[in-house]
Point group: C2
Chain length 709, copies 2
C-alpha cells in the first residue's frame, strides 16, 4: 500500500528534476542575452558584487544559526523518550540548504537579468518583458522544484525508516519547513530592512541634501538601493513562499498521519500522496503556462498585462483540472476536491481584491491621491483607513475558504484546511515568476537612468516597472493569504499532535474559558505589534547609518560630486548588510524563543503552580492570537503601503498638479511611511506567523515528555 506514497514521491522527484532543468535552461538563456554598453556592464557588475556580498555575509550568519539549531535538534533527539527523531535535524538541514540554494540561484539570475532587461528594452517593450519574466520564472521554478525535491526525497527515506510509525515520519518532515523558515527570517526580515535602509538612506542624503536625482551614480548608496530590491523582493519573497509552499504540503501530510483512524492505512496513504502529487502537477503546469506569456513585438502595456494574466489564469485552470483528476484517481471523494479548489479560488480572489485596493484605477487609491489637497496628515489618515478597510474582504475570503474546506471534507476537516493551503500554493511556480519579475524591471529602469540611456528606453522600463507594481501588489496579497492558510494548517497539526497532553476539559465553555488560552491569545496578538514596532524602527536606524556614510564620502572623496571620482559603493552595501542582520536578530530571536520558552514552562510546570499559568493551552492561544493579529496587520500595512505608492505615482503622471506640486509633496510623505509598511514590517509578519507555528510543530513531541497518554 505504501507503494502509492513511493510512487507519488518518485513522480514528484521527476517533476522537480524537470523543473530544475527548465530553470537552468531558462537561466542560461537569460545569461546569454545582450548586456548593453560598457557603462551598463560596469553598473551591473557593481550590483552583482553587492548582491553576492550580501548573500555571503547573510549566509555566514545563517550557517551559525543553522549549525546551532541542528545541534540542539540532535541533542533533543537523543534524550530518552523525547519523542523526537534525529531525522528532524537532517530535514532541518535539508530545508535550510534547499531554501538557501533557491535564494542564491534565483537572485544570481535576477541581478544578471537587471542589465539584460535594460539592454532588451532598448529594442522593444516585449523584448524587455521576456528577459525580466524569464528571470522571474527561474526564481519561481527553482523555489518550487527544490522544495518538492527535498520533500520527496526526505519523505521517501522517512516512510522507509518509520514504516510502522507514520506520525513520527510526518513529525520529522516538519524539520524541512523549519529549515526553510530559518532562511526566510534572514532573507525576508533582514532583506526587508536592508532594502528600505538603502532606499531611504540614499534618498535622504541624495535627493534632499545633495540635490542630485534618484538613481544618480554619484550617490554612494545608489547601488545598495539596487541590491536591496533584489535582496528584499526577489530573495525575500522567494524564501517566504518557499516556506509556505513546503509547510503547506508538510502540514497536510502531518494531519493525514495524525488524524486517520488507526488501521485505516489505505486512506492515510492516499491522503499523504495527494499533496505531493498536486505539487508535482502544479509545477509542470506552471512551467507550461509560462509559454502562454508571449506577445507580438509591438505590444502595448495592456497587452503585456493581459499576457501575464493569461499565464496565471491558464495555470490556475490547469491545476484545477489536475486537482480533480488526481483526487478521482486516489478516490478521495468530492469533499476533498472542493476543499482543495476552495484554496485555489481564494488565492486568486485575494490577489484580485488586493489590486482593487492598491491600483490607481480604482476608488481607494484615487481617494488617497485626492486627499493630498488636505496635506500630508490627511494623506496618512486616508491611507491608514484604506489599509484597515482593505482587511475586510481578505478576511472574509479566508473565512469562507476555511469553512468550506473544513465542512466539505468532513470527517477529515483539518486535512481539508491543509489541502486548501496546498491548492492555493499549487500555481506558485508561475505566480512567483510574475512577482519576482517586478524588481528586475524596477532595477532595469535604475540602470537605464544611471547609464543615461535616454527617454525611450526609460519609458519602456517604466512601463515594465508599472506592470510589475500591479503584479507585485497581487503577489503580496497572495503571500499573506497563503501564509495564513499555511499557518492555520500547521497550527491544526500542532494542536492535533499535542491533543493528548492538554487539559482534560470536557465542555466547550471549560476549554474556551481556560485563562491560559485567553491570555495566550492576548500574548499572541501582541507579538505582531511588537515585531512591527521593532522592524519599523530598525529601518530608521539602519538608514541613519547610510546617511552618515554617504555624507562622509561626499566630503572626503575629492571629485565625487563633479563625476570625476568613483564613490565607494561597497562600504554602503556592507553597512546595509551589517545593520540589516543586526536589526533582525532581536525580533527574530524573540519569535523563535516564544514557543520554545512556553514549551519549557509547560513541561516543568506539570503538577505545580507554574502549570496553572502556562500550558499547551497558552501555546495554542499564542499561535491562534498571532495568526489573526498578524493577518490583519500585514494586510493593512501591505495595502496601505501599496496604495500610498500608487497614489504618488498617479500624481507623478501629471494628475492633481503633478510632480513638485504641494499635492505631490504630501503624497511623498505617505509613500515614505508606506515603504517600511509594505516592504519590511508587513512581509516580515508572514514569517512571524509561520515561524511560531512551525517551531511549535517541530517541538510538539517534547511536550509529551513524561506524560502517560
Amino acid at each position: 500500500m505504501d507503494s502509492i506514497i513511493a510512487n507519488a514521491n518518485v513522480l514528484a522527484l521527476i517533476a522537480s528534476v524537470i523543473g530544475l532543468g527548465f530553470a537552468i535552461y531558462t537561466a542560461l538563456w537569460v545569461v546569454r542575452q545582450d548586456t548593453g554598453n560598457d557603462r551598463m556592464r560596469k553598473i551591473a557588475a557593481a550590483i552583482q558584487r553587492g548582491a553576492a556580498a550580501f548573500l555571503t555575509r547573510e549566509y555566514r550568519y545563517v550557517a551559525i544559526l543553522v549549525a546551532i539549531v541542528t545541534v540542539v535538534l540532535l541533542i533533543l533527539s537523543v534524550i530518552p523518550n523525547s519523542g523526537m527523531s534525529p531525522w528532524t535535524a537532517v530535514a532541518f538541514l535539508a530545508g535550510a540548504g534547499a531554501s538557501a540554494l533557491a535564494g542564491f540561484f534565483g537572485m544570481s539570475i535576477a541581478v544578471r537579468a537587471n542589465v539584460r532587461t535594460t539592454a532588451a528594452a532598448q529594442k522593444s517593450l516585449n523584448q524587455g518583458l521576456r528577459v525580466a519574466f524569464a528571470s522571474g520564472s527561474v526564481m519561481g521554478t527553482t523555489v518550487v522544484s527544490l522544495a518538492l525535491l527535498g520533500i520527496s526525497i526526505l519523505f521517501m527515506i522517512l516512510t522507509n525508516v518509520y514504516a510502522d510509525n507514520p506520525t513520527l515520519a510526518a513529525s520529522a518532515l516538519a524539520g524541512f519547513g523549519f529549515g526553510g523558515t530559518s532562511i526566510a527570517i534572514f532573507a525576508r526580515v533582514g532583506g526587508g530592512i536592508f532594502t528600505k535602509a538603502a532606499d531611504v538612506g540614499a534618498d535622504l542624503v541624495g535627493k534632499t541634501e545633495a540635490g542630485i536625482p534618484e538613481d544618480d551614480p554619484r550617490n554612494p548608496a545608489v547601488i545598495a538601493d539596487n541590491v536591496g530590491d533584489n535582496v528584499g523582493d526577489v530573495a525575500g519573497m522567494g524564501s517566504d513562499l518557499f516556506e509556505s509552499y513546503a509547510s503547506s504540503i508538510i502540514a497536510a501530510i502531518a494531519i493525514a498521519a495524525l488524524t486517520t483512524v488507526a488501521g485505516n492505512d489505505a486512506m492515510r496513504v492516499r491522503m499523504e500522496a495527494y499533496p505531493i502529487l498536486i505539487g508535482a502537477a502544479g509545477l509542470i503546469i506552471s512551467i507550461l503556462a509560462t509559454f502562454l506569456v508571449r506577445t507580438e513585438e509591438n505590444a502595448t502595456q495592456a497587452t503585456l498585462l493581459g499576457s501575464l494574466r493569461r499565464g496565471v489564469w491558464g495555470a490556475s485552470l490547469g491545476v484545477a483540472v489536475a486537482i480533480i483528476i488526481i483526487a478521482l484517481i486516489l478516490d478521495l471523494g468530492i469533499g476533498i476536491i472542493i476543499a482543495t479548489l476552495s484554496g485555489l479560488v481564494a488565492g486568486v480572489l485575494i490577489g484580485y481584491f488586493t489590486e482593487f485596493y492598491t491600483s490607481d484605477n480604482y476608488r481607494p487609491t484615487r481617494g488617497i491621491a485626492e486627499s493630498t489637497s488636505g496635506g500630508p496628515a490627511i494623506v496618512v489618515i486616508q491611507g491608514l483607513s484604506v489599509g484597515m478597510q482593505s482587511t475586510v474582504v481578505p478576511v472574509m475570503i479566508v473565512i469562507f475558504a476555511t469553512l468550506i474546506a473544513y465542512q466539505a471534507s468532513a470527517p477529515n476537516g483539518l486535512y481539508g484546511i491543509a489541502m486548501a493551503a496546498v491548492g492555493m500554493l499549487a500555481t506558485l511556480g508561475i505566480t512567483l515568476a510574475t512577482d519576482a519579475y517586478g524588481p528586475v524591471a524596477d532595477n532595469a529602469g535604475g540602470i537605464a537612468e544611471m547609464a543615461e540611456l535616454g527617454g525611450a528606453v526609460r519609458e519602456r522600463t517604466d512601463a515594465l516597472d508599472s506592470l510589475g507594481n500591479t503584479t507585485a501588489a497581487t503577489g503580496k496579497g497572495f503571500a499573506i493569504g497563503s501564509a495564513v492558510m499555511t499557518a492555520l494548517a500547521l497550527i491544526s497539526a500542532f494542536i492535533t499532535a499535542t491533543g493528548s497532553v492538554t487539559s482534560t476539559n470536557t465542555t466547550f465553555q471549560a476549554v474556551v474559558l481556560d485563562p491560559r488560552l485567553i491570555t495566550g491569545l492576548m500574548l499572541g496578538a501582541m507579538l505582531p505589534y511588537f515585531f512591527s514596532s521593532q522592524t519599523m524602527l530598525a529601518v530608521g536606524r539602519a538608514a541613519q547609518q547610510i546617511v552618515l556614510e554617504v555624507r562622509r564620502q561626499f566630503k572626503e572623496i575629492p571629485g565625487l560630486m563633479e563625476g570625476t571620482a568613483e564613490p565607494d559603493y561597497e562600504r554602503c552595501i556592507a553597512i546595509s548588510t551589517e545593520s540589516a542582520i543586526r536589526e533582525m536578530l532581536a525580533p527574530g530571536i524573540i519569535a523563535v524563543l516564544t514557543p520554545i520558552v512556553l514549551a519549557i514552562l509547560t513541561v516543568i510546570g506539570r503538577g505545580n503552580i507554574i502549570g496553572q499559568f502556562v500550558g499547551v493551552e497558552t501555546i495554542v492561544g499564542v499561535l491562534l492570537g498571532s495568526l489573526i493579529s498578524a493577518f490583519l496587520l500585514a494586510v493593512m500595512m501591505a495595502n496601505a503601503g501599496g496604495a500610498w505608492d500608487n497614489a504618488k505615482k498617479y500624481i507623478e503622471r501629471g494628475n492633481l498638479g503633478g510632480k513638485k506640486s504641494e499635492a505631490h509633496k504630501a503624497a511623498v510623505v505617505g509613500d515614505t511611511i508606506g515603504d517600511p509598511f509594505k516592504d519590511t514590517s508587513g512581509p516580515s509578519l508572514n514569517i512571524l506567523l509561520k515561524l511560531l507555528a512551525i517551531v511549535a510543530l517541530v517541538i510538539a513531541p517534547l511536550l509529551a515528555v513524561g506524560v502517560t497518554p
Copy 2:
C-alpha cells in the same frame, strides 16, 4: 439568606444617594463661582447653548433608538420559551436613562465650569484647579452614583420577582448595561467624531487659509471646537466608563448566579452582594479622597500634580482596605480578595505605563520629538512604532491580572476575573474626576484666549491644561484596560450562559479546532479594523463640511474678518452635530447587528447546513477575536496619538527649534494624525468591544430557544 443581597442593595442605594447629594452640592458650588467679565460670559453662553443643542439633538436620535430596542426586547420576552424576561426591557430603559442623565448633568456643569475656571485662574493657579477639579468630581460622582442607584434598585426588584430563578434575575440585569452602551455609542463615537471634525475643520480654514490664530472668536467653528471638547472628552468618556462600571458589576453578579452549584445558595448570595458593596464603598471613599486634592495658594504645577495623585492614590489605598474588609465579612476567602486587588493594581499600573509612553518626560515621546529632524514621514513612523511597542506592557499587565484573578479564586475563576474588573473600576469616582477636569481646563484656556485676558491668565490655564494632558493619558489607558477586563467578564458570562447549547465536543483539540471558533476569531479581529477605518474617514468627511461652512461665512458675512460682525456659531455646531450622528450610525449599527445576526443564523441553522458554518462557537470567536484585536489597536492608537501630541508640545516649549521651525511643522503632521487616533477611533473601540459582548449576553437566552438541555 437573600437578606444579604437586600442589605447590600440598601447600602448601595444609600451610598448613591450620598453621592448624588455630594454631586449636587459641588455643582451648586461651581455654579456660584465668579463668571468673569461680559465678554467671557458671552463666549461661555455660546458654548453652553452649543453643548445643549448637541445633547438635545443627540438625545432625540437616542430616544428613537432606545424606543425601538425597548419594543424589540419586549416582543422577544413575550415569545413563548424565548427565555427572556420583560424586565430586560425595563433594565435597558433604566440604563439608557441613567447614562443619559449622568451625561447631561455632568456636561452641563462642565460647560459652566469652563468660564468659571478662567475667571478663577485670574486669581491663582490653585483657584483654577479647584473649580475645574470640582466640575470633574461632579461628573465622576454622578456617573458612579447613577450606575449604582440603577443597579441596586433593579436588583432589589429582580431578586424579589425571580426569587427562585437567580439566573434569570442576573440575565435581566444585563439590560441595564446594554442601555448604558446605547448612550455610549452616541456619546463616545458620535462625540468623538464631533470634537475632531470641529477641531480639524476650524484649524484647516482658520489657521491655514485665513491666517487667524487658534481659538480666534472670528472663526465661526471655534465655538463648535470648544463644545466638542466637552462633548467628546467629558460626556463621551463619562458614558464609556458608566458602561464599564455598570457592566463589570453586572458581569460579576451574572457569573455568580450562573456558576455556583445549585443548592449552594449561601455562597451565591454572598458573591452577588460583594461587587455591589465594593461599588458602594468605592463611591464613598472616592468622595472622601477628593478632599485630599487641596494645595496652598502659591502652588506650582508639580504640587498640583502631586495633589491630584494624592487623591487617586488615597482612594486606591482606601478601596484596597474596603475590598479586604468586605470580603472578610462575607467570608469569601483570600482568593477572591487577591483577584479583586489584582484588578485594582492592574488599573494603576496601566495608567502609569501609559504616562511613560505619552509624557515628554520620558524617552518614547522625546524620541518622536527628535525624529522630527527627518521630516513628517519619519515622525509618523516613529509614532506608530511607539504606539505598537506600548502595547506590550498593558497586554502583559492584563494577562497577569487575568491569570492571578482566575487561579487565586479557583474554583470560582471566572468570578475572580469579573471581580478584577470591579476592583479596577472601584475608584472610578475620583479617577474620572481627574480625567474630566482636563477638557474643562483646556476650554478655560480657549476662553482666556478669545476674551484676550493676557499672558498671566493664559499661562495659568496652560499649566492646568498640561496637567490635564498627563491625567488624560492615564485616564485613556485606564479606560481601555477597564473596558477589556469588563468585556472579558461579560464574555465569560455569555459563554457560561450558553454553555449548554454549544457543540458537544469533548476534547480540547476538537473545541479549539472547531472552524466556527477559528473563523469567528478572524471575523471578530477584523471588526475593530473596519470600525476604525470608518471612524477615521468620518472625521475627515465631517471636517470638510465645517470647512465649507466657515469659508461661506467668511465670504458672505460682511465685517466678520474686521471683527465688526458676529459669525454664526450655531450653524457650525449644527453641522458638526448632524455629521457626527450620521457618521456614527453605520459603524454603530454594524456593531449591534453582528452578534444579533450571528445569533439568528445560529438558531435557524440548527440541524441544517447553516449550522455547519455558524454557531454559538462563531459568536464566542467573534467576541474573543474583537476583544484582543480592539485591545491592541486601541492602545496603539491612544498612545501614538498622545505621544505625538506631547512631542509637538515639547517642541512648542522651545526645544529642538521651537514653534515655526521645520521640526515643529513635522510634529504638527504627527499630531494631526494622532487627533482622530486618540480622540475618535481609539476610544470608539472601547465601546465596540463592550457593545459586542453586552449585546451577546442580553440575547444569550434566545440561543437556547428550542434546545432541550
